[in-house]
Amino acid sequence: MRYIGKEMSRVDGVAKVTGQAKYAAEFQVKNVAYGFIVQSTIAKGSIKSIDTSEAEKQSGVIKIFTHLNSVKRKDKDDAFCALQNEKIVFNGQPIALVVAESFEQARFAARLVKAEYLKEAHLTETEKAPTVDSRGGKVRGNPKEALQNAAVRISAEYTIPIEHHNPMEPHAAIAMWDGDKLSIFDKSQGVKEVQRHLAKSFGIATENVSVVSPFVGGAFGASLNPNYYPFLTAAAAREIKRPVKVNYTRRQMFTGHGYRPYTIQKVQIGASKDGKLQAIIHEAIGNTSTFEDFSETPNGFGRTLYNCPNYDTPYKLAKTDLPTPTWMRAPGAVSGAFAIESAIDELAYELKIDPLQLRIINYAEKDPDTGKPFSSKALMECFKQGAAKFGWEKRKPEPRSMRDGKWLVGWGTATGTWGAMQLPASIRITLKADGTANVGSATADIGPGTYTVITMIAAEFLGISPEKVKFELGDTKLPNAPVQGGSFTTASVGSAAHGAALNIKKKLFDFAVRDFGFAGVSVEDTEMAKGFLFSKKDNSKSVAIADLMKKNNLTEIVENYTSMPSKERNNYTSMAHGAQFVEVKVDEDLGIIKVTKVIEATAVGKIMNPKTSHSQEMGGIVWGIGMALQEQTEIDHRYGKMMTTNLADYHIPSNADVHTVETDFIEEDDKIINPLGIKGMGELCLVGIPAAIANAVFHATGKRIRTLPITIDKIL
């Protein structure tokens, strides 16, 4: 291959380093007015009265929307919608939108909107909230009995706090109406989702809504669902008959788009003395809101990882007076892995078996849930390569047995897994006679490098250089694509690009057979490159693509193509896997923890672009470090209010928190998942990291920290 599998700098790099890439809030729209959101200061109850008179007097104020004068949604679902009625369902809920001539004026006036409330008692502690059952997966075998009979048992409870995505770009939308046609610039992981949502909400035809989102400054799940602000923005624009822009502040983001739910997990494991797993009961409770159920089944991911005949994963949701949680990078998996991968480590100490060895003893060769084979699974190679690179064999098994001067040293390991999914996706490729191509699909690029990888795939199979390919995304005028999430974008949209390019070749080939004597050549034996279609076997069979088009009076060939996951996939289980090895150093006196080394070996199918892939993996590992050591949205339960709602208090890792990080790929040649063998990696890379760090901290200190984040005070 010419491009696929080779290092390529991202195609949107120039736009980004020069500041020319346009994010949602940056489109220049004439006569735009600015909306600023006012938020509730209670968690539950209703608005008794709301006084906007002072605010209205301020210079520049155009209009103030509250539940009393706002546009009401045409259809109803459970998702939160702003300014619909007087009810307050979480602290920080939008209760007014102040629209003014400038951002500063709107913000200035917003603080003068005064609400009085009828307060009701709220409940924001997951531990105390009423629960409902959620889908937990089938019981495998007879776990209770097997647990009873097991020679060795462990049982432990793990807690993960609420965490927020905190992409660097705050959410924003600019909306404008032309009659009953709405166009909106939005920060979105899926423009078609926003389009459907707005069309339904306003009761207008889907094609009357245009959503544009070419660049997204990170999202990590925070823009998968349409959030409340696009509707709010569009509604205001319709009422004042002017374009309106609304930008979340960093603080508003914390209640504006969901979060990783607070999760309590209890893991019980039974094993034989030689380390064979007999039973696992992995219970989980995650918080949700009172008005909507969000489930991510954190305990499901361990099920395919270990060969354990008896397995149960009951799952409950706790109804709290908070906003609804949402998907956050590696949803469910990273939370579940923290519990199960910590518990396996605890078991290893109990059994006095090396934690890596214990994982090897229980390695699942087939999907234990379904008995299906894996379409590919190079986890064992990940174990080997990662361990060798890390020097795992030098590990002393006892906790507190390794030191570096005043620092306690700890080594820990964990495993990660994530589904290798593919969804239907459409694309349009226009190959022009001049050898350039336009490619379009309504997917998104929130940072992983979708612009680049789809460009590479199109270039590869159209036989033109990547500079000749112009790939457009993030616009509802383009063919349908799934949201960018679940690590399935490259597998889905990439398969579509591949299929479309092959179809173009087929069309050209048919012309060549008819017009240029390609009879007897099979399409599989031909290739396109440097402007020619030629036979790889017969030198004499070669024709300029421009000539093929000219002969047929064409200036371009347009191919609309939809790729679907293959039927064959159903006979297999397809997962990506990774092994992580972590070194931490802990200052015994001050409790300071440094993650000094992370080696991660992952098996994620075909690596399309090593450069962007390594970057993506390292970013994910640093997410894992953040989750393990820093990230936490604290709630003051007296007010039901999120407290750490800025980057000073909600810590995400800074450069100085990151030391050696190395990522290795074990390539898998998986012909089953999709023609290019793509699995996806953007989420897998952090699954397991928090557990590996917690395990390393235990090895260093002898302290088992079961509540994230592992902060200094928990060590001392």
Partner: protein, 473 residues
């Protein structure tokens, strides 16, 4: 009128002087390369370069434009990414390094990193790996995990090296780090400054009624975080650029500093580097490069945060502050007597800090700080100590602690106790007991009360481990 050079363009504006540079460039100049990530100085997405004439020299520093009022841009060169982009569509070495190392993913943090690294290439710090990495200590990236950006930063050390004999800026132009027009910014700034009697932006006064109007403004790094919506329209007296407040003098007995000295000025001061051998190691624990470029000492003292680092530092030097008012009446007060209660100060509203001074007669100084994140973080607990030793005996000691009381705390009893003692494990243990009686930490998101007590105990001991390694074993 506020007058400055924005990239290659001279601008004058009558906008309210509290307007942030960030909103000015984005909303009024349509320069959207500068990003908004937090508006609180935490993320660095809005980083710009600020060029200022200091005597004969034109000096560039990074600042977070979200916390910087246009009044503090007056008479300066403000550079956004549009001001370093090349006309021919090519990339500067900083920009290419970021692309080639995959230092950009979603791209939202990228321009901030580009600006920080550009400043690294044009300022006069040595082009070491360490300096390159610390140049990006104020930038947060949520995508890349930093490793690729670090590679970009390191790759620039060579490129940024001074070319023979050229002044920094000419060297940087030669290396294509900044465009040609930077060559005569110095002259253009002198013209602006000479064209008027003084930097007075008094015409940009239009306070809105009904706001709590702070009397004084310096770097803005506290005020713009605390009440950004009001600051835009506030009418403050700006002290940041008052030349009379920006000096560091040494006399036989004292070091005297102007109130508007920023943390970076200390870092770059020969006197401070001489008196505080670990200056860099200690001050890099304070906020981040762009914030240190804006954060004044007086602002830190007056903000009175219990965990103010510079406050703890100067309390341990037993510093005095000079308070002045518009009528130029002045009085002097020990810093330790400045704090009456939570955010309550021994100062009239119309008094401002004009000068800070401390005696040089200490032989040892140390500063310790623990926070949850390595950089860019407010301390959970901090402490500083200065000692004058004569032989093994402590002649006098001053100890401060932050994060363990409602105000920044000078530990009077502990300091008194240490006088005349010999350094020993026992002295430290006894002092630690006294400390515990002097503090009353308040539990908050940075830790529980017990945790803070424990931390201060460890940090106080750490002073002696650091200063007298052998003696206390």
């Amino acid at each position: 009128m506020i007058k400055f050079i924005l990239n290659n363009q001279s601008v004058e504006t009558a906008l309210p002087k509290g307007t942030t540079v960030l909103d000015f460039v984005r909303y009024h100049k349509n320069l959207k390369g500068t990003k908004i990530g937090c508006r609180e100085g935490d993320c660095g997405a809005c980083t710009i370069l600020v060029g200022e004439l200091a005597g004969e020299k034109l000096k560039y520093r990074t600042m977070t434009s979200c916390l910087m009022p246009i009044s503090n841009a007056d008479g300066k060169h403000i550079v956004t990414v549009e001001g370093i982009n090349r006309d021919d569509g090519g990339l500067t070495p900083v920009q290419s390094a970021m692309v080639e190392t995959s230092g950009t993913q979603c791209g939202f943090c990228t321009v901030g990193f580009v600006m920080s690294l550009t400043n690294f290439c044009i300022d006069d710090t040595p082009k070491t790996n360490e300096a390159a990495i610390s140049a990006i200590d104020g930038n947060i990236c949520r995508c890349t995990g930093y490793k690729s950006i670090e590679r970009a930063a390191l790759s620039l050390c060579g490129t940024a090296a001074r070319r023979n004999g050229d002044a920094e800026i000419h060297s940087a132009i030669g290396n294509e780090i900044v465009p040609e027009y930077f060559a005569n910014i110095k002259e253009r700034l002198s013209e602006i400054l000479n064209s008027r009697f003084q930097i007075a932006n008094s015409s940009n006064r239009n306070p809105e009624p009904g706001i709590q109007n702070p009397k004084f403004l310096s770097g803005g790094t506290d005020l713009y975080v605390q009440r950004p919506e009001e600051m835009v329209y506030a009418d403050t007296e700006n002290l940041f650029d008052s030349a009379a407040l920006r000096f560091i003098n040494e006399t036989d007995e004292f070091i005297e500093l102007g109130a508007s000295v920023v943390v970076t000025d200390l870092l770059e001061s020969d006197v401070f580097n001489r008196l505080f051998p670990n200056l860099y190691k200690h001050l890099k624990l304070v906020s981040s490069t762009p914030i240190r470029n804006m954060a004044t000492l007086a602002g830190n003292f007056v903000n009175a945060s219990p965990i103010g680092d510079m406050t703890a530092w100067f309390l341990a030097l037993d510093a005095e502050i000079e308070l002045s008012d518009a009528r130029s009446s002045t009085r002097t007060l020990p810093l330790k007597d400045f704090y009456l209660g939570y955010k309550q100060l021994a100062k009239r509203e119309d008094e401002f800090i004009s000068k800070i001074r401390f005696r040089k007669d200490f032989t040892h100084f140390n500063f310790e700080k623990v926070c949850k994140r390595t950089y860019l973080d407010i301390a959970s607990v901090n402490t500083a100590i200065s000692l004058k030793m004569s032989g093994d005996v402590i002649e006098h000691a001053h100890v401060s602690a932050g994060g363990v009381f409602a105000t920044p705390l000078y530990l009077r009893k502990t300091s008194e106790f240490l006088k005349g003692k010999e350094i020993s494990a026992e002295t430290i243990a006894q002092a630690n007991e006294i400390i515990q009686t002097e503090i009353s930490p308040i539990p908050d998101v940075r830790g529980s009360a017990e945790y803070k007590r424990l931390l201060l105990r460890q940090l106080f001991t750490a002073h002696f481990v650091e200063l007298f390694k052998a003696n206390i074993q």
